[in-house]
């Protein structure tokens, strides 16, 4: 099941970035838990609860500069942009990614629902907290790497 989750995350994320932002991103790495080599950095985190046939958590982490750049590209506006706009845009992209992954996995798992995302900017001194024992894919976009992680409780076989 891990392989199907990874494949879903990869294909959906590439599609969302190509369509909404007009940029190609590349898969950098995958793992069964969050990457532990993360240097301290200011990040935007978008967190979702998944319910239904299974319960789970999804998180998307961007660096703040990447989130600001994504927003400027989507809106075709120059930086700096209002913080609320960056958070809204970041949440929308994450919502499309997680929604697309959910739709793909529903064929295997059963119907699921996504909660409203919690979107926040985390300071550099806040620990990076990936999902526990899930599927994480890191992508490279421009000079930075962002993560998409999903975990299910209990873990899917």
């Amino acid at each position: 099941m891990h392989d199907q989750v990874i494949e879903a995350i990869e294909s959906v994320t590439l599609d969302v970035f190509a369509r909404m932002i007009g940029v190609d991103v590349a898969k950098e790495a995958e793992c069964t838990a969050g990457r532990t080599d993360q240097p301290p950095a200011v990040r935007v985190v978008c967190a979702f609860n998944l319910t239904g046939a299974v319960t789970g958590t999804a998180k998307v982490y961007y660096s703040l500069p990447l989130a600001e750049w994504m927003t400027s590209q989507m809106l075709q506006m120059k930086e700096p942009l209002p913080c609320e706009q960056v958070l809204d845009a970041s949440g929308e992209i994450a919502n499309m990614i997680v929604g697309g992954v959910k739709h793909t996995l529903e064929r295997l798992i059963g119907p699921m629902q996504i909660g409203t995302p919690a979107v926040a900017i985390l300071g550099a001194d806040t620990p990076y907290e990936p999902v526990a024992k899930g599927s994480t894919v890191a992508f490279r976009c421009r000079e930075t790497v962002f993560d998409v992680s999903i975990s299910f409780q209990p873990a899917l076989a």
Partner: protein, 128 residues
Amino acid sequence: MGFNVLIVDDSSTIRKIIRRSIQQADLEIDNVLEAGDGIEALDLLRQQKIHVVLTDINMPNMDGVQLLSEMKSQEPWKNIAVLMITTEARADAVVDAAQKGAVGYIKKPFTPVEIHDQLLPILKTLPR
């Protein structure tokens, strides 16, 4: 004379992207209005002549399906074309909206061309 389009989505980002897509698409659209949920949309519908509504499904206060149902039950609005914009590509959600009177849907993520291709045939059917 062109048409008036109402975009309903709780995300200002999505509203701005759709607005820009419409404005760049060289369609016969005079005015593009925005609402953050179904309640705001109904307020705008009471104030202005709207020809097409593009609405998200999942919104606070009043969601897109509720808005669609409300519009189809009211004489001034029941013939307004409604397009659903959604991440929910499930067949049942789309069928439900179609049964309630939606003329189509646009799935997120979308490109400006997809916005144009959905709107153009709708505008062509509208009386002038």
